[in-house]
């Protein structure tokens, strides 16, 4: 895997774009499916991702894994669900356009073609207008200042309290929890149908997490998969007995 530094990308789409570009791949759904594992591995290993930004990285991870699962198990998905992968592909293409534009802007800034304003100084204005330079607003009083200052402090107190929006931190079922759940299911039932496992998910993210959990358990050789023919139901049993 290629080493990335934080300077090379900013945010999940930046990371995804550098992965795609380092493999010299075009932005297509198929390539996104190919790159999914690398992305997940990077996010998992990365220590320099701000915890507050992790949620955003995970959203993209979920989308990638969804695309990957769709590529691997197309029969699980109906046509109406096409959009998710299409959406990430579009989003990344567009992001890339802006990244390219930002490079051009960087070049423009580097040319240092700053435009300067005429100086607005007292001395210069006095030449034009010979009048006392103290011109107070008529309505301002010490009490108005007091009232204003209290309002500013109240706003600041509010701002200091503002944390990440709650929705960003919505609890998502994590893989470990799902793994425990699958183990429990296999313990209870001996054999579980893969499609049933996915159907039990209440939303896409959970479906992806289920899929990941199964992959993880497969990797750890805890599960045995059986399939009668291509695209038919996959039966899962535990390897531990």
């Amino acid at each position: 895997m290629i080493e990335f530094t934080t300077e090379k990308f900013s945010g999940p789409l930046g990371l995804l774009l550098s992965l795609i570009e380092s493999e010299e791949m075009d932005i297509t759904e198929i390539n996104l499916a190919k790159i999914a594992d690398e992305y997940v591995a990077y996010v998992r290993a990365a220590e320099n991702i701000d915890p507050e930004e992790l949620a955003d990285f995970l959203v993209v991870a979920a989308k990638l894994l969804y695309i990957k699962s769709k590529a691997l198990l197309p029969y699980l998905y109906t046509d109406t669900e096409e959009e998710e992968g299409d959406d990430l592909e579009k989003q990344l293409r567009m992001y890339k356009e802006f990244i390219e534009a930002s490079r051009q802007i960087k070049d423009i800034i580097a040319q240092e073609k700053f435009l300067y304003l005429p100086p607005i100084t007292k001395s210069r204005r006095i030449q034009t207008i010979v009048e006392p330079t103290f011109s107070p607003p008529t309505k301002v009083t010490a009490l108005i200042l007091l009232e204003q200052f209290k309002k500013i402090l109240a706003d600041l107190a509010k701002r200091n309290e503002e944390k990440l929006p709650e929705e960003k931190l919505e609890p998502k079922m994590n893989i470990e929890e799902k793994i425990l759940l699958i183990r429990q299911m296999l313990f209870d039932k001996v054999r579980v149908n893969f499609s049933k496992l996915l159907r039990a998910a209440t939303n896409k993210t959970e479906m992806i997490v289920s899929f990941l959990a199964v992959l993880e358990l497969a990797k750890q050789k805890e599960l045995i998969f059986e399939q009668d023919e291509l695209f038919s139901e996959i039966h899962i049993t535990s390897n531990k007995q």
């Binding site: 300077e7 990308f9 900013s10 945010g11 999940p12 789409l13 930046g14 507050e52 930004e53 955003d56 959203v59 993209v60 959406d87 579009k90 989003q91 293409r93 567009m94 992001y95 356009e97 802006f98 990244i99 534009a101 930002s102 051009q104 802007i105 960087k106 423009i108 800034i109 040319q111 240092e112 073609k113 700053f114 435009l115 300067y116 304003l117 005429p118 607005i120 204005r125 034009t128 990440l164 960003k168």
Partner: protein, 179 residues
């Protein structure tokens, strides 16, 4: 005096940038007439290779030095150029420049990541401006005239590929989902 002359004088002495509306009130002329004269003035400066330029952003106008003299003036004023922009800031700034007025939500949809902190920093540096849109009950962001001056261009329209990126259909499709 002609309207052109009056506009030139007003822009020269004003502390802040002036809008067509403000200029209209000051000169008793119509806004479209003023817009036309300012366009001519901008072109006149360019054609004559003048040391001055007129820049425009979001309906606000300012008179500045010509971009080709930037190095000389920098040397003369011994001005320090403001610090580097981080990659995330540059990205956000680019998107706001091409797509402004843009809401925080739209910006985050394009970047795929929370942008609160970056917006706050860009506001403090004066490179973007915030405007509350009553009808949408949301803040919208635009680049500022200081950004235009920082780049040494006449307006956002002079940015490379502005038309294409400003009207991108893919972008419209992505942003459509937010609604």
């Amino acid at each position: 005096m002609t309207l052109k002359s009056q506009l030139e004088s007003l822009l020269f002495v004003s502390i802040k940038s002036l809008s067509l509306k403000e200029l209209a009130a000051l000169t008793n002329a119509k806004t479209n007439e003023i817009e036309e004269v300012l366009r001519t003035l901008t072109e006149d400066y360019e054609r004559a290779g003048s040391g001055l330029a007129i820049i425009k952003n979001n309906g606000q106008y300012q008179i500045t030095t010509a971009s080709d003299n930037a190095a000389l003036i920098k040397e003369f004023l011994k001005s320090e150029t403001s610090g580097e922009l981080s990659q995330p800031s540059l990205e956000a700034l680019t998107i706001i420049a091409y797509r402004g007025p843009i809401s925080k939500l739209e910006l985050e949809k394009i970047r795929g990541i929370n942008c609160s902190l970056i917006i706050r920093n860009l506001l403090i540096r004066g490179l973007i401006e915030e405007k509350f849109e009553k009808t949408k009950n949301e803040n919208y962001y635009n680049v500022s005239l200081d950004f235009i001056r920082f780049l040494g261009i006449g307006s956002v329209n002079d940015l490379p590929d502005y038309k294409k990126l400003n009207k991108s259909e893919e972008l419209a499709a992505v942003l459509e989902e937010i609604k």
